[in-house]
């Protein structure tokens, strides 16, 4: 490397220190000032408190619901064991079964006696965004009855509380995090100008862009560290899911970057601090409060859900059709009460009541017709979801909401997939029993082990990551554009 000429040395001296050095100096000084005047303590302290409470709410809710799911699974297993024990006693001649709870009768096992629950597990990050989990059930009791008997039910809660929503981490992130970001960054340049220190700062070789970037960076670091550390410290030891957590943190960082970019853009306008604060509040109200509601309105107008009122009536009309079609079978003699010996299996066969065969056939017909009706709901809900994924760009709050719900496994898409998989399981369940009920084949002990089991198939991680990447882009692209615009605007920044 050739030695520097005198001219080069002079030029270096005039240019002053490099941008990286200046950025670091401003970053450190700003950090010291913000800590000294307690702004950061206050903002991060509030964030910590709200996050702490939200994590308490989220974890309590998910713990309670997981306990319910565990109880359900346990009771299903106990019931199956009890049925096997009863079957043994019946086959050994120690017990006479009842017509409607006979473990040897496939019709009894297919309905109430053997009914199993299909369960949707909660994901590691579920406490962070409760989403639709308070309305959409995480379990269905599947029998051979038609799906209108179980698939229309929802979770039980006070409607007022559902309307209000939960104080979960998603709420803190969506509403409060941007407010705190705007609260600490609305006057990054204007305050310097109003105090008269901006000219002093820029009289050195410090560029205004570097100044704004360094001030933004120190605030972003504080806010993101508080958020990330609080959630990691409380959530990860109990729930695990480190990789998902990193994706979550990435989403939060993208959301925070957006709001810092908004603050930077408003700062770059060169207005007074009060004007900046007012403008940022208007932006916050528009993007966080109003835009999601309008987006929800747009999606419900563009893809209205088919009428549930019509579905209810149609379901009943279909059932009436089924009852009429199999009226003869339903009106046959019923020997199962007066002649208890027909309840016992003989040579692997058992007399299944004609009425119960009729119920199976009616359910088969009703389900086939209901599938068409329910498909319309699923199609519309999927269309709504796709609409939101495409247009949530208009509200970063909607984007982060969807992203967090997807990561937590509490979004509409996962619940739709659950009902689809439950429908498939319901078909398997019915198919398993259909051959036995229609041909009068008695249930045996090995049959109980062969009963169809529901196992939830999670959507591939790549699909979820693709979805998240889309959401992150919807946050980062506008941030980048805002940043570039702010940079351009800073060239005309008024120094006094």
């Amino acid at each position: 490397m050739p030695p520097l000429s005198t001219l080069d040395k002079l030029q270096r001296t005039l240019q002053g220190p490099g941008t990286g050095y200046l950025f670091t100096r401003v970053f450190l000084n700003e950090g010291r000032i913000l800590l000294a005047d307690r702004t950061l303590w206050l903002a991060c302290g509030l964030l910590f408190l709200f996050l702490g409470y939200s994590l308490y709410v989220g974890l309590s809710q998910v713990r309670a619901r997981e306990a319910v799911l565990q109880g359900i699974t346990l009771r299903d297993a106990e019931k199956a064991d009890k049925s096997i024990t009863q079957l043994r006693r019946i086959l050994a001649g120690h017990e006479t079964p009842d017509p409607f709870s006979n473990p040897a009768d496939p019709a009894s096992v297919a309905s109430g006696l053997g009914a199993r629950h299909a369960v949707l597990p909660y994901l590691a990050l579920a406490p962070l965004a409760l989403g639709q989990s308070d309305m959409a059930p995480n379990y269905y009791r599947v029998t051979n009855r038609n799906k209108s008997t179980f698939l229309y039910d929802g979770e039980m809660d006070n409607p007022w509380n559902l309307m209000t929503g939960h104080f979960d981490t998603a709420f803190v992130v969506i509403y409060l995090l941007p407010l705190l970001i705007l609260g600490v960054s609305y006057n990054m340049l204007s305050a310097e100008r109003e105090r008269g220190t901006l000219r002093l700062l820029l009289s050195h070789s410090l560029g205004i862009g570097t100044l704004l970037l360094a001030k933004t960076a120190v605030r972003a670091l504080a806010v993101l560290t508080t958020t990330g550390a609080t959630v990691a410290a409380v959530l990860l030891p109990e729930r695990g899911g480190s990789l998902e957590y990193l994706f979550w943190l990435g989403m939060i960082a993208a959301y925070a970057v957006f709001w810092f970019a908004v603050a930077a853009a408003v700062n770059a306008l060169g207005k007074a601090s009060a004007t900046n604060a007012f403008a940022l509040i208007v932006v916050w109200v528009t993007l966080v409060i109003l835009a999601p509601v309008l987006l929800n309105l747009a999606v419900s107008q563009a893809y209205p859900a088919p009428s549930r009122t019509e579905l209810a009536t149609r379901s009943r009309l279909i059932t009436i059709g089924g009852l009429n079609r199999f009226a003869d079978l339903l009106a046959t003699d019923y020997r199962h009460v007066g002649k208890p010996q027909v309840l016992l299996p003989k040579d692997g066969k058992i007399e299944v009541a004609e009425r119960r065969k009729a119920h199976l056939l009616i359910a088969r017909q009703v389900d086939a017709e209901l599938d068409t009706l329910l498909a319309a709901f699923e199609k519309q809900l999927l269309a709504q979801q796709q609409f939101i994924e495409r247009f949530s760009l208009i509200s970063p709050a909607a984007v982060i909401h969807e992203g967090m719900s997807a990561l937590a496994g509490t979004g509409s898409r996962r619940y739709t997939q659950f009902t689809q998989q439950v429908s498939t399981y319901h078909m398997d369940w019915k198919a398993f029993f259909e051959v036995r009920i229609l041909n009068g084949i008695a249930m045996t002990e090995p049959d109980f082990a062969r009963l169809p089991k529901f196992s939830w198939l999670e959507q591939p991680a790549t699909a979820l990551r693709g979805q998240l990447a889309g959401y992150a882009l919807q946050l980062l692209v506008p941030s980048l554009l805002l940043g570039l615009w702010a940079r351009r605007r800073l060239r005309r920044y008024p120094m006094v």
């Binding site: 309670a64 319910v68 109880g71 359900i72 009842d98 017509p99 989403g131 639709q132 309305m135 039910d153 929802g154 979770e155 039980m156 809660d157 006070n158 409607p159 007022w160 509380n161 559902l162 309307m163 209000t164 939960h166 104080f167 709420f171 509403y175 601090s273 009060a274 604060a277 007012f278 509040i281 109200v285 409060i289 109003l290 999601p292 929800n296 999606v299 419900s300 859900a305 009428s307 549930r308 009122t309 209810a312 009536t313 009943r316 009309l317 009852l323 009429n324 009226a327 339903l330 009106a331 046959t332 019923y334 009460v337 519309q380 809900l381 909401h401 969807e402 719900s405 979004g411 509409s412």
Partner: protein
């Protein structure tokens, strides 16, 4: 002299708002959003009510024309009944998106309302449903803040406050003048909304009989919202008078708004749930099932001589009677369990209504839902009415089974129980379901707490404004 100043003071504020664009931008946008909310909701209401009426007719007709069958099979497929949407649901849909409006009346068990619209919506539903009530409750205070945050503090910064006071205008006159201005601007925004809502309610086919009732409800709603807006006006005036700068006033007001509109409702819901925990579906169902099981056994042992239900101990020619015994044994247990559940929800709601002393939106929300006929109480009344209808249907079916199916078994052999079929005459004996929404005066009685809390808040806000204007910083 002082009272003559009031219009002048108010006029000065209007000039300021017109000049700085707030009147046009904030006022105009608020008006557009609320009018859009009225239009969207009236369209939805008309469509939904049309479908409900059609479904109601279709469902009952299908019950009448179902053909001959065993009455218990008919009771098993039962019928659906649909909750009519009250006319003012277009103003405040209340809990309806989260409660559903259809109930399946079927044999053996009491059902809950099904098909919550929020279940057919994406997660965005949780951000809120666009309605006039939502805009007024959530954004209403913000609109007042936008117009009023600097009425005192801004003048103080500009130095015009001292000049005005030096002219001999008393502080109190100044306060009333500014209050008049803020009330005026809110009236300017809200009166067209009230007119639009009235027209929409008339368009959404309110029957002549319900017209006076709906008018009374709308009047009471207007009074409640006026009290809320007025409370906000005086609260904003108090803060603006007390704060040294417009910036500080804005930040404090926004902080109060966020705390009372965004944070408080969620915290109040958590507190209410903590004080009166509601059961999960599994817990509720399993407790009720255990109690029903015990009650059924007692009733069977007493009335039929064996506690073993649907077994071989009670012959098939007594199953009509057995169904009757079973049904009646279940009624009390179901009543007890649903009462307990609904009482829990009512207590939670009442806690949140009282929390309105800290966050007035909660009291207004309760008051508004009650008067719009979309509250939990209305939901409960409808559920009761539907269950009464189910029991009427069940009793008619059971009586027929006792009278005819059991007798049929006697004559045709015990096993012939299910060969008995009833015809259209039996189906016609089940009356058509009709539900009468409660009258406004009943709703008025239940809205007293919410209204009292709102008035208390208003009185406190006026007191705070008077105190703050008298003790303003120089």
């Amino acid at each position: 002299m002082n009272s003559l100043c009031l219009p002048l003071i108010a006029k000065r504020e209007f000039i300021e708002w017109r000049r700085d664009g707030r009147l046009l931008i904030a006022g105009g946008l608020s008006l557009i959003v609320m009018i859009a909310a009225v239009l969207v909701n009236v369209q939805r209401q008309v469509v939904a009510e049309g479908k409900r009426r059609a479904a109601e007719v279709l469902d009952y007709d299908s019950w009448l024309k179902q053909g001959n069958r065993h009455p218990h099979d008919a009771a098993h497929q039962g019928m659906y009944v649909f909750k009519p949407s009250p006319p003012l649901a277009l103003f405040d849909p209340g809990i309806t998106p989260f409660s559903g409006a259809s109930i399946w009346l079927q044999a053996h068990q009491q059902s809950e309302l099904r098909f919550r619209p929020a279940q057919d919506a994406t997660g965005l539903q949780r951000f809120g449903t666009l309605s006039v009530s939502w805009v007024l409750q959530v954004l209403g205070p913000l609109i007042v803040i936008i117009f009023g945050f600097n009425v005192f503090s801004g003048e103080r910064e500009q130095g015009t406050l001292r000049q005005t006071l030096s002219l001999g205008v008393s502080t109190r006159t100044l306060l009333w003048g500014k209050a008049l201005a803020l009330h005026g601007v809110m009236a300017l925004i809200l009166l067209p909304v009230l007119i639009a809502t009235t027209v929409a309610v008339l368009y959404a086919s309110v029957s002549a009989a319900a017209l006076s009732d709906t008018a009374l409800r709308l009047l009471l709603l207007s009074v409640g919202y006026a009290a809320y807006v007025s409370m906000m006006v005086f609260a904003v005036l108090a803060v603006s008078a007390r704060m040294p700068t417009a910036r500080a006033s804005l930040l404090v007001l926004l902080g109060l708004w966020f705390a009372s509109v965004m944070l408080a409702p969620r915290i109040a819901a958590d507190v209410a749930e903590y004080l009166d925990p509601s059961p999960s579906r599994v817990e509720f169902n399993s407790k009720m099932a255990s109690a029903l099981d015990a009650a059924y056994k007692r009733a069977w042992a007493k009335e039929l001589g064996s506690e073993k239900r649907w077994g071989g101990d009670v012959p098939l020619d007594r199953w009509g009677r057995a169904l009757q015994v079973d049904d009646h044994a279940g009624y009390t247990i179901m009543d007890q369990h649903f009462k307990r559940l609904w009482d829990t929800y009512e207590k939670q709601n009442r806690t949140q209504e009282w929390a309105g002393l800290l966050a007035p939106m909660l009291s207004l929300r309760a008051y508004s839902m009650i008067l719009a006929g979309t509250s939990f109480y209305d939901h409960r009344l409808f559920s009761h009415a539907a269950e009464r209808q189910r029991r009427v249907m069940q009793d008619i079916v059971s009586d027929d089974l006792v009278k005819n199916a059991d007798a049929h078994s006697h004559t045709h052999g015990e096993q012939a129980h299910f060969t008995y079929q009833a015809d259209a005459r039996l189906w016609a004996s089940v009356p058509r379901f009709s539900y009468q929404t409660p009258l406004a005066k009943e709703a008025l009685g239940r809205s007293v707490v919410g209204f009292a809390v709102l008035l208390t808040g208003l009185a406190l806000a006026i007191g705070a404004a008077l105190w703050a204007s008298a003790h303003r910083p120089e």
